[in-house]
């Protein structure tokens, strides 16, 4: 190696490091990544305390990774490289047939599962109204034929069977059968972990069955396509950028329906906020699924024009957001409680609000990992 070549090579290396150092320093930091749907780490200010505890260092490491110039393109390059070298998954997401992305379902922690089942049962015993309970299997179970051959995937059916065998006080019904019967249809999003409105409809028929009510036939509704540009959460977490976007449809019209969200402001004062069954403003942002009821909230009440119909309370995760439209035909009020944010006694709430029936409805992946169901026993 001669000197000039040495200078060239050394210079090129230093330039590569320097370009990203400088680019990172001069580009304004982003506060939020819509793609990953999370806040990004900001430049931490060192203090004696944070340096000694190491907090500053770990924040700084996250900062460099979060704010790295061209972050999304690097993630894209990595995912494409993985596919090119024969991998069939990236960051815990399988590349499936029919242009579908499915998150791997790992064997859940057995203790969490049996604890959560116990909480549901305790809740059913003290609720004072009939409590229905069902678990919604995810795409990894119903669409397992789309997974790469032999891909490790824990059974969600086993969890359902365990629940059926152990629940004493709640009335369990099967959402699984309804979805399994329609597995050939677009019942899940291909890029998001939720069920589609169509999937929710089949979930609704299963619930109607359990409640001994007559479901409205799907043909009575007119399908409205809300978006054809939806990229969901699995799209984000997978780093995969080569799949086609999803379509969001709705079936039930939102006329005569009001939604009120109850929460607390930063000072702890109760706040009421009007929401919508379909908040179409979310269709212009990345997080389009939040169109249904405007996204996460501790407590919401959906009021319909059927004032003489019963009142239903649902302890739920976000799958219920797209189920609620179908329920509006049968209830006067639907109360939605999310124990991740709602920490008061649900049994008290049922008594005070004259609830007629309660439902605990979770997706299997959420139910088997949730740490907040303990609040149900209050």
């Amino acid at each position: 190696m001669d000197k000039r070549y040495g200078i060239f090579l050394s210079g090129a290396f230093c330039a590569f490091l320097g370009v990203f150092l400088v680019a990172g320093a001069v580009t304004p930091d982003k506060t939020f990544s819509p793609l990953e749907n999370r806040n990004l780490q900001q430049l931490p200010a060192p203090s004696v305390k944070t340096v000694l505890s190491g907090q500053f260092m770990s924040d700084f490491e996250t900062y460099v990774t979060d704010q790295f110039p061209g972050r999304d393109s690097w993630m894209d390059l990595k995912a494409r490289t993985e596919r090119a070298v024969g991998k069939e998954e990236n960051d815990g997401v399988y590349f499936c047939t029919k242009d579908t992305l499915i998150s791997r379902f790992d064997p859940p922690d057995a203790a969490t599962v049996s604890k959560n089942l116990g909480y549901v049962d305790q809740f059913a015993a003290k609720a004072g109204v009939p409590v229905y309970f069902s678990l919604i299997p995810g795409a990894a179970e119903i669409w397992s034929d789309r997974l790469p051959a032999g891909a490790p995937n824990a059974s969600q059916k086993a969890i359902l069977d365990q629940a059926a065998a152990s629940i004493q006080n709640a009335r369990m019904y099967s959402t699984y059968d309804a979805l399994e019967a329609h597995k050939g249809e677009d019942i899940y999003y291909r890029t998001d972990h939720h069920w589609t409105s169509l999937g929710a409809y089949y979930g609704y028929t299963a619930l109607m069955d359990a409640l001994d009510m007559e479901p409205v036939p799907l043909t009575d509704y007119q399908k409205t396509t809300r978006s054809t540009e939806f990229y969901g959460t699995i799209y984000s977490s997978s780093g995969v950028r080569w799949v086609a976007p999803d379509t969001i449809d709705t079936y039930v019209p939102d006329t005569g329906i009001t939604v009120t969200s109850y929460t607390y402001d930063s000072k702890g004062v109760p706040v009421e906020e009007a929401r919508k069954l379909y908040d179409t403003s979310f269709l212009t942002v990345k997080d389009k699924y939040s169109m249904f009821l405007g996204g996460n909230q501790p407590l919401a009440v959906v009021r319909t024009s059927h004032t003489d119909a019963p009142k239903l309370l649902i302890v739920r995760d976000s799958y219920t957001d797209s189920l609620v439209p179908f329920l509006t035909a049968h209830f006067s009020e639907i109360h939605l409680v999310d124990p991740r944010y709602y920490k008061l006694s649900v049994a008290d709430y049922i008594r005070k609000n004259g609830i007629d029936e309660a439902l605990v409805l979770y997706s299997v992946p959420n139910f088997t990992s949730d740490k907040n169901l303990v609040w149900l026993t209050k």
Partner: protein, 467 residues
């Protein structure tokens, strides 16, 4: 701080290089010492105190040894050496082995040592060995006593090889600490080695690690025979590329700063015997144990029973050096026994076998050793080894094996090829011109892909937290 991270590559390293080269020659050690301390304190700031203590105490001991020798006081010099060895081993013992011994004693009903829950200071096994060898070498007159505490501190804390080796003896670095040369050619050679090491760690080792983790975490009733072998093969390659990648990065960074470190690995997986494997694997550790333990115990100039005992001691120490856990001791003794067998019985016979059988023999024993190394829990280890040798509860193979094999086949093939001297040999045959064109392209590709994998850093372990 670890090398395979965005904050090291795109913040720490360019800043260090810039300031280092802007600083006049005579101040460079001081600059380097300051940056070394930042590097070390990054993960656990309190442990910088260990660095200060190590510098101060080993510096003083070196001076003491030298002063005693000037006065012809050999007993005093010996005492100073002993005191230094006790300090360094004491440091290592306390931070690395205290909890292990306390727990082991408690397990047999002797719970008189409290379990302190000590977090292992990163790299402690490397730098205590380095500083220990310094005083010993001063006593043996193999090394000069370093009277400048900044220069000495720079040696103790030198960031390229501080946390994962290679283990460098002071005598090999003495001249370079005071008069090292810096040239673009040397820097460029460093870049080359560094990028190769980075790619080994980020592109190969991390990926192989995910495959091994899948098998390590697999419930035993799902383990299959071929799956267990696939897992242990993945770990063997992971550890090699991780460790040798780290050593390459150390050597490369050293060159960028004007230091020459000896390579730590020499294609260990082409060995034809376990003896040869240990001449090619973690060379600096083997040489340290030979020079500071095996030879002082009498080397091979002792009676046969004594020789056996010496070898057993050396390999028990080598094993337990790798981590405070019984499986590492077992792993060391496993090699000790194999090396004794080869020395007295097998080696002569092996040499008469066809080369391919020799390779199979060595690789087989090494693969088995990695199972012992990687699985800490003896119950789990027993089941894993049983699975490898036909007693797998999941049968011969299953769908998951097919999935993993298919997904990782290209990575495994590239890794196997990269563990042979093949690439280097082909590179050597290239003419100068195509080499000069190809080199920057390859280096850029290595950097770009490594960066992409680091930005999406879901899996980037540092394997030597146990060392």
């Amino acid at each position: 701080m670890v090398f395979s991270s965005l904050y090291f590559l795109f913040a720490y390293l360019p800043i260090v290089l810039l300031i280092y080269y802007l600083t006049p020659l005579k101040w460079r050690n001081l600059v380097l010492l300051a940056f070394n301390l930042i590097f070390y304190g990054w993960g656990e700031p309190k442990y910088i105190l260990i660095m200060f203590a190590s510098i101060a105490i080993d510096y003083t001991h070196g001076m003491l040894v030298a002063r005693c020798q000037e006065k012809g006081d050999d007993r005093g010099a010996r005492r100073a050496v002993a005191s230094s060895v006790i300090f360094n081993l004491g440091l290592l013992f306390f931070f690395k082995y205290w909890d292990f011994i306390a727990k082991s004693l408690a397990a047999v009903g002797l719970g008189f040592m409290p379990v302190l829950g000590i977090r292992l200071p990163i790299g402690i096994s490397f730098y205590t060995f380095q500083t220990m060898s310094y005083t010993i070498d001063v006593y043996r007159r193999d090394a000069r006593c370093q009277r400048n505490i900044v220069t000495f501190g720079t040696f103790v804390t030198l960031f390229p090889q501080l946390i994962a080796g290679p283990i460098i003896k002071y005598k090999d670095l003495d001249d370079q600490l005071e008069h090292r040369t810096h040239s673009p050619e040397q820097f460029a050679a460093g870049v080359q080695i560094f990028v190769v090491g980075l790619a080994k760690k980020v592109l190969l080792a991390n990926n192989l690690g995910m495959l091994w983790d899948a098998y390590k975490a697999m419930p035993t009733e799902q383990l299959t025979v071929v799956g267990a072998w696939l897992g242990v093969l993945a770990f063997s390659l992971q550890l090699y590329f991780d460790f040798s990648g780290y050593s390459d990065m150390a050597v490369g960074l050293g060159r960028m700063l004007g230091f020459e470190f000896s390579p730590n690995f020499n294609y260990p997986y082409i060995s034809k015997s376990v003896t040869e494997f240990w001449r090619r694997w973690h060379i600096s550790l083997g040489s340290w144990f030979r020079e500071y333990l095996y030879i002082p115990l009498g080397g091979n100039r002792v009676s046969r029973p004594r020789l056996l005992l010496n070898l057993l001691i050396v390999w028990a120490a080598t094993g337990i050096w790798h981590g405070a856990s019984w499986n590492f001791l077992l792993w060391g003794l496993y090699f000790g026994v194999l090396l004794v067998l080869e020395k007295f019985l097998l080696l002569r016979r092996l040499e008469k076998l066809p080369a391919v059988l020799q390779h199979i023999y060595a690789l087989f024993l090494v693969l088995v050793s990695w199972a012992i190394f990687a699985v800490e829990d003896f119950g789990h280890l027993g089941q894993y080894l049983a699975a490898m040798f036909g007693g797998a509860q999941g049968g011969l193979a299953d769908g998951a094996f097919g999935y993993y094999f298919r997904s990782y086949l290209p990575t495994l093939l590239v890794s196997c090829a990269a563990s042979l001297p093949l690439g280097a040999r082909l590179w050597g045959k290239l003419a100068e011109k195509p080499k000069q064109i190809l080199l920057p392209v390859l280096l850029l590709a290595g950097l770009v892909f490594s960066t992409a994998y680091l930005v999406d850093a879901t899996y980037n372990p540092f394997l030597y937290f146990r060392f």
